[in-house]
Amino acid sequence: MLLPVAFWVLAVVAVLAGAAVFMVDSMARASYSLAVSFVAVGLLVLLLRQHYVGVVTILMMVMEMAVMAVYMVMFMGMNPALMPMSMVHDNRHALAVSIGVFVLLAAGVLLVPWPARRGGPPVDVTAALGDGLMGPKMLVMSAVGGVMAVTVVAGVVLAAHRTRYDRFGDDLRRRPADDPQPGGVGR
């Protein structure tokens, strides 16, 4: 009894919060309504018995939305006051395409003859995920590790304004570093 109620509440919250992202009046509200949508989806995944994945989704998305709110304010320069902001282009076509895609997907979901369930869930879902990652799916783990490291490096390279040579001089010997805003412990 509790399960269907929880499912429908979370589903409605997820979709409405997702729609609200593009309709609210401030960038912080947009970021945090996206966070609410993600938390609802994380809880839905928890309801589908995938505990680790659900909680990790909530964790990652809240942290990501906190950082994204900072970026929003940085790029769009808005203050906490609420002001109508709707910057869209090609609104009607986008609406038509998205509604068309939803109708197509819903038709597929309802008309496709889904196969029967194959097997049962493992007793300890988290342990099964861990065993899977360390065993048959070890390639995923090593690939993900490498991809994450590359992403960190690529992100810093793209976003960093000043290179080592700007900071330490052409011979890399200037100490302390020539930064417009000091940071660190002054090494």
Binding site: A11, A14, V41, L47, A94, G132, V144
Partner: protein
């Protein structure tokens, strides 16, 4: 809570995200639309795992989707920052040409 209902919710999230990705002018808002699309994808993958094939190691696909979302966000914000530095543009319409 059947497979069809969860997939309908996922399709709704995907469509809302698609609307955002297509219609928004600001780069960060487009990225929020992409985030919503991947959100729907996570929910759909979780539903497929539970209702069709709850294999012990099938959840790895969900982790792969989450990693893809992370990488997309990181790269997207890095590119948006760089674009803003070089061209002082944060709207997609101002970034439509490869070279100024």
């Amino acid at each position: 809570m059947t497979l069809q209902t969860v997939l309908l919710v996922a399709a709704a999230l995907f469509s809302v995200g698609l609307y955002g990705a297509l219609s928004q002018q600001a780069v960060v808002m487009v990225m929020m639309g992409l985030e919503l699309m991947l959100n729907g994808l996570i929910l759909a993958a979780a539903a497929f795992w539970w209702f069709l094939a709850p294999d012990p190691s099938g959840q790895v696909l969900l982790l792969v989707i989450i990693v893809a979302m992370t990488v997309e966000m990181a790269m997207g914000f890095a590119v948006a920052t760089h674009l803003h530095r070089v061209r002082r543009a944060d709207l997609t319409d101002l970034a439509a040409d490869l070279s100024r």
